[in-house]
């Protein structure tokens, strides 16, 4: 099964024309309650979760289609071990400074701590059996995780990115993947930031200079290629 290219910017994706469920994964970054839902800690801090939660429905539409076609679906979660042994001192200090210290009790359990309700993936996008979930202590999904091991084991060379936030964990992971030679596609409407200027910037610099980090498309453009 080889699929037609996606009508992406600034080039038809992937660059070499061919992609299939055997070599392509949908990577859904950090679609966790704390970043997306009312009473999650972003909401409690007064951040605009309207921006991030708007990415749930486009992500769900593509997830269901790609899941049905047998693509690899990989979910990531940002969070720390309950004993915080994987938490950098400066990350902890910065989180405390803005009133949401990692590991302390928040509205949905301990902030960014594995196993807590706020840390888990939202129900609309919850992984099904067989879909790898990568728990990561940082912004990038390659650092201190088995993300690359999973990709290598499955023969994945092409990555389609959805999730939050586009200027933080999505971008860090995508730029790392691009450096490693993966052919990447960012979904502009299935990713979001807590600041619309930041989201627009990420879309712009991704497509800059012929696609310095890959290409950008909307969910409907991917669905059209999958029709």
């Amino acid at each position: 099964m080889s699929l037609p290219p996606v009508d992406a910017e600034p080039y038809l994706w992937p660059f070499d024309g061919a992609w299939s469920p055997a070599d392509t994964a949908l990577v859904i970054i950090d679609m966790q309650t704390d970043f997306l839902k009312a009473d999650g800690y972003c909401d409690l801090m007064g951040l605009d979760i309207g921006l991030t939660s708007a990415s749930i429905e486009p992500t769900r539409r593509l997830l269901e289609r790609m899941r049905a076609l047998g693509f690899t679906i990989i979910h990531t979660r940002e969070g720390h071990r309950p004993d915080l042994t994987d938490l950098n001192d400066n990350k902890r200090w910065r989180s405390a400074r803005i009133g949401a210290e990692i590991g302390t009790p928040g509205p949905c359990g301990r902030v960014l701590t594995r196993g807590e309700p706020g840390w888990d993936i939202v129900p609309e996008l919850y992984p099904v059996a067989g879909e790898p979930v990568v728990d990561k202590p940082g912004k990038g999904s390659f650092h201190a995780t088995d993300f690359e091991q999973v990709l290598t084991s499955r023969g994945i060379r092409r990555l389609i990115f959805a999730g939050v936030t586009s200027d933080c964990c999505v971008h860090t992971t995508m730029t790392n993947a691009n450096d490693k030679g993966y052919e990447c596609l960012l979904l502009g409407d299935a990713s979001a930031a807590l600041d619309s200027r930041n989201h627009a910037m990420i879309v712009a610099i991704t497509a800059k200079r012929g696609g310095q980090f890959g290409a950008v498309a909307k969910v409907d453009q991917v669905l059209a290629a999958l029709a």
């Binding site: 990350k91 912004k139 990038g140 730029t175 691009n178 450096d179 712009a204 610099i205 310095q212």
Partner: protein, 230 residues
Amino acid sequence: MLRQVNGLYPWPYDGRWSAADTALLVVDMQRDLLDPEGWFALTGGDTAPLVAIVPAVARALALARAARLAVIFTIESHRPDLSDLPANKLWRSRRLGAAIGEAGPLGRHLVRGAAGTAVVAALAPEPGEPVVDKPGKSAFIGCDLDQILRRRGVRNLVFSGVTTDGAVQCTLRDANDRGYECLLLEDATASDVARDHADQVHTLSLAGGHYGSIATVAALAEALQPETVR
């Protein structure tokens, strides 16, 4: 013990920095990117904003050397046989009009050993200052930067160089994930597009400094002033 640098937040966060644990990174200040005959100019990039920060980087370099901080340079480059060059990166460079590995006025574009991969003369490394050749944007992928930093006991990193929206931010983000305490020198970093630099500084300022602090070269100088001249 040095004074904290006055910036987005007083840096480093815990006040702990010294010559023994701090490095200045000079990112990709190479002729391929800054020279009017280099690869970046040949592919339509505007080198003027990159060249404009050379004096500021030179000042940061002089401060770091005087204070005996570690100084480390990075260079974006590939092996001569291009075995470390991803196929899509090659394809994109060809589409921009100057394929990586092809010969140009400064030798083969972005290939180690070619004239284009030298640091610009005004910022030339001194003996003992490591130069890290990296095949991507991040200096934590496919090279030995992390090994060098850990070997030297470095935990605080000061960033200068180009481009803010390319190798600088990619390296800074990866450094932060690894626990390094990062400081971006906003006037010693640049993008070819002014707006891209400003947007990147805005993003890195998120949540009071999600990835580290941000300051000017003058603030760094002030913090490094010896006690006697305060």
